[in-house]
Amino acid sequence: MSFIECVRISFRSIRANGLRSILTMLGIIIGVAAVIAMVAIGEGTSSSVASQINGLGSNLLIVSPGQATQGRVNLGAGSLNTLTLADAEAIVTKESVSGVAPSVNGRAQIVWGASNYSSSLEGTTAAFLQVRNAQVESGRFFSNFEVKQQFNVAVIGTEVASNLFANNSTNPIGQTVQINRIPFTIIGVLKSQGSSGMTNNDDRILIPITTAMSRLTGGKNVGTIYVSAASADQMEQAQADIQSTLRSNHNLRPQTADDFRITSQSDILSTAQEVSSSMTALLSGIAAISLIVGGIGVMNIMLVSVTERTREIGIRKAIGAKRGDILRQFLIEAVTLSLIGGIVGIVIGVGAALLISKFGGMTTAISVSPILYAFLTSSLVGVVFGVYPARKAAQLKPIDALRYE
């Protein structure tokens, strides 16, 4: 019997048991759709995380203070205050470095007239724009002179501006606000950057780092030094330069460990990508389990179908069907079931991914490989879970099968 005949017979039998076939396929449909939607969400998330991290700044290196240990207890990153403005100034002289923006962080209450708003406060230098990949939307950024002279000027993010100035009914530029009860003049508003990871880049107040250190945060240490390397190729050179500069600045003996830490953008990127790829793996693992459950559903129905059609098998054998004919018939039926389920599942999965990116506020990326993979898997499921019932059918003896009621 030819392959086409087998396919025709299996299609007829699938149609003859319409509802049951649909319910059987449902398992495969859900499994395949889930795999495709999950992979699309996972890949979408990881690509959007990557673009957010790239948005942090170009060729960015982040220098943070080292970790203190008390006895043998590591107190964690940032538990030392080892970085100073002098460190930043020393780093900026290196050729591999194109910009250095030290920063101190805190929270601040900002008040204008009757409205007030709480936001994150960052003291930084004029190099901020270049190093952190930011732009000014209106007004201007503070200059090196203003930083040196500890001017009370501030640049705010769009979120702060709209909260403080009642959805921009007043032009914020030139307004005097109180930041932690100290008067500041707003000289610029940053262009919206969206959020990177957990941080909302539009919800911040920037002031000269000197002003921040002397009037708001106190102390002479800076929290983080953001450094941008001259080019992507010089990232490693810059990292080495920073390390040697800081070690000599901090008078560290050769055997002493660094009292600071340098993180590069690519470190963050690979960490974030690791996180999102393990999320993808987890989600698609769960989805794959449902695909297996779907396969078991196919096997279950095929077994029922073999029992139910014992007589049919007997008739077919009596009039000349060989083992192989019966085996093929039932195997093709199982594969057809799961393939149709797979195709419907692909359509639903892609549709779901599109809907999620349109209405769910998540980025999804649909690529060809998971679709191909799902297609192959579902046919494989059909074969794997179809073989046992089909063999069972093929091995029935014609006299027993004919006698079966």
């Binding site: 007829r12 003859a16 008739i315 009039i319 000349g320 069907a321 083992r323 004919l402």
Partner: protein, 240 residues
């Protein structure tokens, strides 16, 4: 006359638990081409086992069986399937047609497994159905046909591959008297045209349509005699 069935000292044993049952205890039988033999006997006499062996649905435990000169006792399962497909036409008591499948498709089935191309298959199936008087019912499914019509479909199916023997197992068991006579008429017509017919039945009336009656008891043939007062079905009634 050429013998189509040659059986020599055939034994069939069944094992049920630790008990061994001898269904056939040394049967020898020869059936020649063109014969019309009725196999009779009470239940448990071995006539069903005999019919399973003749139909190549089951292999004998001991003994020789040649069908159309072919040694069946030595054949494998797939060879048996091919013998059933090419040399035997089955007609069953309960018709054994595939449900939800049209008459033509049911009749096509043996050709399908025999590897006949689709167009020739359809033509031959239609011709076989016309031969049994069902040209009006080609595309009806079994549940849309009467018992007699279903049995005619199964006769058409049995004949479509032009088998060496037509093997009918209680073909009238599910039919009323009038329809039974119609069906027996078809068998007689086919036999008159030269087809070898083997009929398994427990009804003496039906057996009298045959030329010869072979009686079984306790797994052995007890008599093998020619029917002296053979019944003839009214052919006028049979003709459509």
């Amino acid at each position: 006359m050429k013998p189509v069935i040659q059986i020599e000292d055939l034994k069939k044993l069944y094992r049920i638990g630790d008990q061994e049952i001898q269904a056939l205890r040394g049967v020898s039988l020869t059936i020649e081409e063109g014969d019309f033999v009725a196999i009779m006997g009470p239940s448990g006499s071995g006539k069903s086992s005999m019919m399973n062996v003749i139909g190549c649905l089951d292999k004998p435990t001991f003994g020789e069986f040649y069908l159309d000169g072919y040694p069946v006792s030595e054949a494998h399962d797939d060879e048996l399937a091919e013998i059933r497909n090419r040399k035997i036409g089955f007609v069953f008591q309960n018709f054994n047609l595939l449900p939800r499948t049209t008459a033509v498709e049911n009749v096509e089935l043996p050709l399908l497994y025999g590897g006949t191309p689709a167009r020739e298959r359809r033509e031959r199936a239609i011709k076989a159905l016309i031969d049994v008087g069902l040209e009006q019912r080609l595309n009806n499914k079994p549940n849309e046909l009467s018992g007699g019509q279903q049995q005619r479909v199964s006769i058409a199916r049995a004949l479509v591959n032009d088998p060496v023997i037509l093997l009918a197992d209680e073909p009238t068991g599910a039919l009323d008297t009038r329809t039974s006579e119609e069906i027996m008429g078809i068998f007689q017509q086919l036999n008159d045209a030269g087809k070898t017919v083997i009929l398994v039945t427990h009804e003496p009336d039906i057996a009298e349509y045959a030329k010869r009656i072979v009686r079984f008891r306790d797994g052995q043939i007890v008599s093998n005699e020619v029917v002296t007062k053979r019944r003839r079905a009214f052919l006028e009634e049979v003709k459509r």
